[in-house]
C-alpha cells in the first residue's frame, strides 16, 4: 500500500463520516479512526513486515478477507450508495442567497427538516427583489451547501436532500 493510497483512504473515511475503519492484508494492518466529522483523522500503521515498494495494489475497500473488513466495507458501501441517492437542489437564478426572509427571522429550513413540493427553502435576492425558492422535491435536508449572504450562480448546488 503506498502513501497516496492511504491518504485517499483517509479522505474516503472522512467523506463517509465513518468512525473507524480497519483493513488487514497479508503484510499490513491499517486502522483509520476519526473523532467526529470535520476533525482530521489519525491513523496507526502496524506493519507485520517492512513495507516493500510493491506493485501498486488497487484500492478497494471492498477487498475483504476478514469479517471485520467485510462489515466496514458493507457500511462504506451503504454510505456511498446513500449519498448517491441524495438529490441536489440547484439554484434556478443568479443572486444573493439568504437562509431566511429577514435578519431576525428563523431560517427557512435546517438540516434534518422535512420538505415537500412547494416548501420555501431559501431566499435569493436579485435586483432588490427577494425571490422565495420553492422545493420541487419531497425529502429531508441533509446538507446546506451555501453560506448565508453569499452570491450564487445559475445551477449552483444549494442543498442535498435525502428522498423519503
Amino acid at each position: 500500500m503506498e502513501l497516496k493510497d492511504i491518504q485517499e483512504l483517509i479522505k474516503q473515511v472522512n467523506k463517509l463520516n465513518l468512525a473507524e475503519v480497519t483493513i488487514e492484508k497479508k503484510d499490513l494492518k491499517l486502522t483509520i479512526r476519526t473523532h467526529e466529522p470535520g476533525v482530521p483523522a489519525t491513523y496507526t500503521v502496524m506493519p507485520q513486515q517492512t513495507l516493500q515498494p510493491a506493485a501498486p495494489q488497487p484500492i478497494a475497500i471492498q477487498t475483504t478477507t476478514t469479517p471485520q473488513q467485510t462489515a466496514a466495507a458493507a457500511e462504506a458501501k451503504a454510505a456511498s450508495t446513500a449519498e448517491a441517492n441524495l438529490l441536489t437542489i440547484k439554484s434556478p437564478m443568479i443572486g444573493t442567497f439568504y437562509r431566511s426572509s429577514g435578519p431576525d427571522k428563523p431560517a427557512c429550513v435546517n438540516i434534518g427538516d422535512e420538505i415537500k413540493v412547494g416548501s420555501v427553502l431559501c431566499i435569493i435576492e436579485a435586483m432588490k427583489l427577494f425571490n422565495e425558492i420553492e422545493s420541487e422535491q419531497t425529502g429531508r435536508i441533509v446538507k446546506i451547501l451555501v453560506e448565508n449572504a453569499k452570491p450564487v450562480e445559475y445551477d449552483q448546488p444549494l442543498f442535498l436532500v435525502e428522498p423519503i
Partner: protein
C-alpha cells in the same frame, strides 16, 4: 477608468475583450450558459458567473439574468460584444438605469439606426447618399411606374415585411413592371401575410464596402477607412479585407466623409460601421449602420495598428478622440473559419476537436476560442476561428493566408478551411474582381 467589465457575450469575441481588459488592468467577469462551462473565455476571465441553460433566450439574451450577474459581481461596465444584446436599445437603457456603463452608443442612437426606414431618412437629411427609391410603401402600379421612371431601371421591388430574399423582384424594363408588381405582392402576401411592397434602385452586382468609424462623447467623429466584405453567402460574410481592391483614394475620401456625416447626424458615441453598396461606376449608397464592434474589426486593426476594443473602452470612459482619420498602411485579409462542411452545403458540424495545431509566424493572427479537446456546442453560431494575415502587398497577404490555411489542423469536425484554400486560388479573387454575386459562380470542389 472602469474597475471591472462584465462581458455579456461568449466565444472568440468574449476572449478578445478579455485580452484588452487584461492589458488595461481592468478586471473581467465572464458570463456563461451551462453549455459553455468549458469555454475558454470562462477560463481566461478573472471571475465567471453561470447565467442559465444553453438556450440563448435563457442565458446570453436574458437581460434579467445578466443584470443579476452585474449585481453580484459589482461590475461597473458591460461590454456587449457583437450579436446577442449588442444592438438592443432596451438593454442599453436598462444598463443606464442601473448605473452600469454600456460600452457602446446610447439607447436612442441604437434605436435611430436600428429602424431601417428611419435610418435611411436620417442619412438622407444628413446628405449621405442613399439608395434612391420610393418614400415608403407603394400605393399602386401607377405610383410604381412613376417612381421607377424617376430613379431609372433596373429597379427592385421589396417586401416591407420581407426577409430571406422573398418578396423581391428585379424589374429590368418598364414593360415587365406590371407582371413583377403582381408577383412581388403575391409572394409577399403568401410568405409574410403582408403584401406591402416598396421600391429601390437595383444596384447591379454591388460591392459591399463598409467604413469603420469612431465618435466620442463630445461630438467628434473620425473614420478608419474601409473593409471589403463582398464575399458573402446568404448574407453571411465569409471573408473580409482592407483596403478594398476596388478602392481609390478619391472614393475613400468621399465615403469617409459620408461616414463622418452619418456619425455627426446622430452625435454617435463609440465605435461603429457604416455599410455601403458600391456599384461598378463607384457610386456608393448607404445601406445600414452597425452600432457595435464587428467580427471583422480585426482587419482594420492590423492595417492601422490600432486596438478597437481599447478605443471602445476609452470612449466609454469619457476620453476624447483626436478626430484624426486613419488610412491603411498595410494589406490585411480575414478568413472566417466555421464548423461547417463546405462539401455538404455548409451544413453545421458541431462536435469535439480531437486535434488542433494553430498556425503562426510572421503576419499571422488567430482570434479563436477553440482548443484541443474542446466540444463545440450546437446552440450557438458556427464560427470557431478567424485567421487574419497582414503583409505589405495584397499578393503577399494572400500567400501568407495560403500558408497559414495549410498549417491549420483542426481534427474531429469539418471546417470551412478547404473552402478558403480554394478561394485563395480563385482567379477572380486574386485579381480583386469580385462583387456580392461572387459566391453564385464559385464552385467548391469537394
Amino acid at each position: 477608468m472602469f474597475k471591472k467589465i462584465l462581458i455579456a457575450n461568449r466565444g472568440e469575441i468574449a476572449l478578445r475583450i478579455i485580452r484588452t481588459c487584461k492589458e488595461m488592468n481592468i478586471r473581467t467577469v465572464a458570463l456563461y450558459s451551462t453549455a459553455d462551462r468549458e469555454s475558454l473565455h470562462v477560463k481566461f476571465a478573472d471571475e465567471a458567473v453561470c447565467i442559465g441553460p444553453p438556450k440563448s433566450s435563457e442565458s446570453y439574451l436574458n437581460m434579467a439574468r445578466i443584470m443579476s450577474a452585474v449585481e453580484i459581481t459589482g461590475a461597473d461596465a458591460i461590454h456587449p460584444g457583437y450579436g446577442f444584446l449588442a444592438e438592443n436599445e432596451k438593454f442599453a437603457e436598462i444598463c443606464n438605469e442601473y448605473g452600469v456603463k454600456f460600452i457602446g452608443p446610447t439607447a436612442s442612437m441604437i434605436a435611430r439606426m436600428g429602424d431601417k426606414i428611419s435610418a435611411k431618412d436620417t442619412m438622407k437629411k444628413a446628405g449621405v447618399p442613399v439608395i434612391p427609391g420610393s418614400d415608403g410603401l407603394l400605393t399602386d402600379l401607377k405610383e410604381a411606374k412613376k417612381i421607377a421612371k424617376k430613379i431609372g431601371y433596373p429597379v427592385i421591388l421589396k417586401a416591407t415585411a420581407g426577409g430571406g430574399g422573398k418578396g423581391m423582384r428585379v424589374v429590368w424594363k418598364e414593360e415587365d413592371l406590371e407582371t413583377q408588381w403582381s408577383n412581388a405582392r403575391a409572394e409577399a402576401g403568401a410568405s409574410f401575410g403582408n403584401d406591402g411592397v416598396y421600391m429601390e434602385k437595383y444596384i447591379e452586382e454591388p460591392r459591399h464596402i463598409e467604413i469603420q468609424v469612431a465618435g466620442d462623447q463630445y461630438g467628434k467623429a473620425c473614420h478608419l477607412s474601409e473593409r471589403d466584405c463582398s464575399i458573402q453567402r446568404r448574407h453571411q460574410k465569409l471573408f473580409e479585407e482592407s483596403p478594398s481592391p476596388f478602392m481609390t483614394e478619391e472614393l475613400r475620401n468621399k465615403m469617409g466623409d459620408a461616414a463622418i456625416k452619418a456619425c455627426n447626424a446622430i452625435s454617435y458615441e463609440g465605435v461603429g460601421t457604416i455599410e455601403f453598396l458600391v456599384d461598378k461606376y463607384r457610386n456608393f449608397y448607404f445601406m445600414e449602420m452597425n452600432t457595435r464592434i464587428q467580427v471583422e474589426h480585426t482587419v482594420t486593426e492590423e492595417v492601422i495598428n490600432y486596438d478597437l476594443i481599447k478605443e471602445q473602452i476609452k470612449i466609454a470612459n469619457g476620453e476624447p478622440i483626436t478626430g484624426k482619420n486613419y488610412y491603411p498602411a498595410m494589406h490585411a485579409l480575414e478568413c472566417r473559419i466555421n464548423a461547417e462542411d463546405p462539401a455538404n452545403d455548409f451544413r453545421p458540424c458541431p462536435g469535439r476537436i480531437t486535434n488542433l495545431h494553430t498556425p503562426g509566424g510572421h503576419g499571422v493572427r488567430i482570434d479563436s476560442h477553440i482548443y484541443a479537446g474542446y466540444t463545440i456546442p450546437p446552440y450557438y453560431d458556427s464560427m470557431i476561428a478567424k485567421i487574419i494575415t497582414v503583409a505589405q502587398t495584397r499578393l503577399e497577404a494572400i500567400e501568407t493566408m495560403e500558408r497559414a490555411l495549410s498549417e491549420y489542423v483542426i481534427e474531429g469536425i469539418k471546417t470551412t478551411i478547404p473552402f478558403h484554400q480554394q478561394l485563395m486560388k480563385n482567379k477572380d479573387f486574386r485579381e480583386g474582381n469580385f462583387t456580392t454575386a461572387f459566391i453564385n459562380t464559385f464552385q467548391f470542389k469537394s
